[in-house]
């Protein structure tokens, strides 16, 4: 079931010198039960986009179809009603610091006019669900980051929304709490049958959670695919850069072409991750394959790996490439510049 359809959304900020096209014509859709990832480096326009979705930011043009209506055409009262169908969580949790956990979670209900006892009952159900019952009367300042985000999730779920908007929800958390919050989001989708728009700059997060992922750069979605395909054959340099991660540093200096031959990025599916394909093809086609970088990524759907290799120009390069393709390897040719800058 389609939950959200965004068509050609634009938002421009008029600055003194020049206008910033923060969101520059973005279209996508999200289905029930889906965690749709929006990934991009800082400044790509992700937060602006997600804030447009519940009209915290008024888009300049485009359509946001949700619950059978185009939100961009509605008045404030209708928008407020619809916001209650969309929960939102944030990087810095944004809990009310002077309200208890219980009152934080009950807040959307109270604002919607539900009476005190009903709100309290629902809040306690949700606090149980996130496993923080003994903190119901505590204030946010007493909680760890991971606990705060769980409270924020409970608050976002208070009114039984259809969709959850998550803007960098794990970016301020340590790895252990990140994992905790991510598994909670996964569980929430199952238990509440909602969809999530998940904004992140960490490919780690997208690959742990998302089905489809869109890559954003300069206000545009430059590439959208299911996670596996995205990891196997990323089309854009920005995508490769996001996949690479920070720990995997390419062993070349800027502009230097130590590498003589053609450079390729080879994407391996789980079937071919374990086979000694490279050495086999190297022997068969008499090519020297120089491995420049590589990694294996654990996705929801299984493992995918990649290698960045250069073929030295002896032997049958064409044959080798063909053989790789036939073995299910995704090939993306890279320039030396690409390889250095945007692996």
């Amino acid at each position: 079931m389609r939950l959200l359809t965004v068509k050609n959304l634009r938002k421009t900020f008029a600055q003194e010198k020049e206008a910033i096209h923060a969101v520059n014509g973005v279209s996508f859709h999200v289905d029930k039960g889906e965690i749709y990832g929006l990934i991009g480096l800082s400044g790509a326009g992700k937060s602006t986009l997600v804030r447009c979705l519940n009209l915290l930011e008024r888009p300049d043009s485009g359509e946001i179809w949700f619950d059978g209506i185009d939100l961009t055409k509605q008045n404030e009262a209708v928008v407020r009603e619809k916001r209650r169908e969309m929960g939102m969580i944030f990087q810095h949790f944004n809990l009310f610091m002077r309200k208890t956990v219980e009152d934080n979670v009950a807040y959307p209900l109270r604002i919607a006019g539900r009476d005190r006892s009903e709100s309290k009952k629902r809040a306690h159900e949700l606090i149980d669900y996130i496993g923080l019952s003994k903190y119901a009367r505590a204030y946010p300042a007493e909680l760890s980051g991971g606990q705060k985000q769980r409270v924020a999730i409970a608050r976002a779920l208070a009114l039984n929304p259809k969709l959850l908007l998550s803007d960098e929800a794990t970016s301020a958390l340590d790895p252990v709490n990140t994992e905790l919050v991510l598994s909670m989001l996964r569980q929430v989708v199952k238990d509440f049958g909602i969809g999530i728009v998940l904004i992140t700059h960490q490919m780690e997060v997208a690959k742990a959670l998302c089905g489809r992922v869109a890559v954003m750069e300069s206000g545009l979605i430059i590439e959208e695919n299911n996670v596996e395909t995205l990891f196997l054959s990323p089309k854009h340099a920005a995508t490769r850069r996001l996949i690479r991660g920070v720990e995997d540093v390419f062993p070349l200096k800027h502009g230097e072409t130590i590498v003589k031959g053609n450079i390729y990025r080879l994407g391996f599916r789980r079937e071919s991750v374990r086979r000694p394909l490279i050495s086999h093809i190297s022997r068969e086609y008499n090519v020297d394959i120089n491995i420049l970088a590589g990694d294996i990524n654990v996705l929801q759907t299984g493992d995918v790996g990649y290698l960045v290799v250069s073929f030295e120009d002896i032997g049958d390069e064409e044959g080798a490439l063909k053989a790789l393709r036939e073995n299910g390897v995704e090939l993306v040719p890279l320039t030396a510049e690409d390889a250095v800058n945007h692996l």
Binding site: R80, R83, H92, N94, R137, Y139
Partner: protein, 220 residues
């Protein structure tokens, strides 16, 4: 003599309480308006904001004595007289309103924008947001602002006494300056100091309690 001191103290308390009340009652909404209407606010009204901002600056730069004289006609209009305790309440409040507005504005601006956004994302109207998030989250700072305001008004009320305002200031001037009776002068000054200390202590206590709320476990 003691009777006169008690009467003057009561007059001062009356002037300070009533004018504090009015200045907060009018200054806090002004502070909220400033926060909402500023260019980065939730309801940007740049023209309104700039006008309010300018008016507040003008009033704040007037010395209290000048303002008091300027406000005489208004006092007479409202209270029927230009001097005396009741009449002095008007200039005291008028002088404090812009001060309160500014101090409340600063306190309210301390509330994290993300927290307000969370309120809006939860479906709150702006008016609901003001009452349920903006003011409650800023409460300790607001209390601190009220404390500063009251102390300020105590000071001004003493000054008002010198030009026919009644209260402890009037007592100090009459006995200290005209009759040269230093005992009465120093006694009234001492009472003023005690009042200021009391307000400071009470305000500080309230603020600390409120701040603690956000920090320590309410025992389950």
């Amino acid at each position: 003599m003691t009777q006169e001191l008690i009467r003057a103290t009561i007059e001062t308390l009356e002037m300070v309480t009533v004018s504090s009340l009015f200045s907060v009652l009018l200054g806090l909404p002004l502070g909220v308006l400033l926060v909402l209407s500023r260019p980065q606010g939730l309801r940007p009204r740049p023209a309104l904001y700039r006008a309010l901002d300018a008016i507040i600056n003008v009033f704040r730069s007037l010395p209290f004595l000048v303002l008091m004289i300027m406000v005489f006609p208004l006092s007479r209009l409202i209270t029927g007289r230009a001097t005396g305790t009741t009449a002095t309440i008007v200039p005291l409040a008028v002088a404090a309103i812009p001060f309160v507005a500014r101090i409340m504005e600063q306190s309210l601006l301390e509330v994290d924008g993300g927290v307000l956004e969370a309120g809006l994302a939860s479906g709150a109207k702006i008016s609901q947001l003001v009452w349920t998030v903006l003011i409650p989250e800023a409460l300790p700072a607001l209390v601190n602002g009220v404390t500063i305001t009251v102390i300020n008004i105590i000071g001004n009320s003493a000054m008002a006494g010198a030009i026919g305002g009644g209260g402890l200031g009037d007592l100090a001037v009459r006995y200290g300056l005209y009759r040269r009776e230093p005992v009465m002068l120093y006694t009234s000054v001492a009472v003023i100091i005690v009042l200021v200390q009391l307000v400071q202590w009470l305000g500080g206590y309230l603020e600390r309690r409120l701040r603690r709320d956000g920090k320590v476990t309410a025992s389950a």
